[in-house]
Homo-oligomer: 135 residues x 2
């Protein structure tokens, strides 16, 4: 699990860590029960304070996608996220609406919106399948 940080991007470091780990999980590169690098180890790799990594892990734990065990380490949780189906759909809806509103304002039409969606979805699905058979 390689993580690349761009300190000059304006996006907070801990958020970059969060989103890359989330992407790794969604793509199937990180599977349930896989260990994440320790707070210190990743901190050294990224030349960052351990607390910054801990902050990222805290967010991820709060969202239920990882769990921690003192002394042992941090791991990807299998199907965490304690939310009702409706809540999940609402969260997803809002993110998709944000994307589509942006797309429409960019002048893209219905066909292009659909195409883009399918392309991204396929990328995720096929990545997950590839990782699943690889292990």
């Amino acid at each position: 699990m390689y993580i690349a940080i761009d300190p000059s991007s304006g996006v907070p470091i801990y958020m970059q860590i969060v989103s890359q780990i989330k992407t790794g999980i969604a793509m199937g590169r990180l599977l349930p029960e896989d260990p994440l690098p320790s707070v210190r180890q990743l901190a050294v790799e990224l030349s960052v304070n351990p607390n910054t990594v801990a902050r990222a892990y805290l967010d991820l734990e709060y969202e239920g996608v990882i769990y921690k065990r003192q002394g042992a380490g941090t791991f990807v949780s299998g199907q965490g996220v304690e939310m009702s189906k409706n809540e999940r759909r609402k969260v997803l809806s809002e993110l998709i609406e944000k994307a589509l509103v942006e797309g429409v304002n960019l002048g893209l039409d219905e066909v292009e919106l659909r195409e883009t969606f399918e392309r991204v979805l396929d990328k995720i699905i096929s990545s997950r399948q590839a990782e699943a058979v690889g292990k």
Copy 2:
């Protein structure tokens, strides 16, 4: 064009204004050449400093969705956005990927992702059509 601000939401006021105007345009509630409320007028309505509204309008102008004329006012621009098709698709792809990564981490499956997408897309499309015939 009613705009509702929640000062305690944590989201900066100017961003709330930006996203609501973007949504209004995408939904077809605001059509090209429609005037936006003046900086001062909207500032009074929202009990906010005129500069805060101006900050929002600055962002929107930078993105090309509105244009301003000194002394005259601010208007919705018809199909602004000077970007190549590829750039637009890239912006959209990143937003959709973000949404889908979130969806997958929430434990939603491919069918649910598709359903949610279609529902949101239909909402936008039908809203635009309704507004178009209404005017």
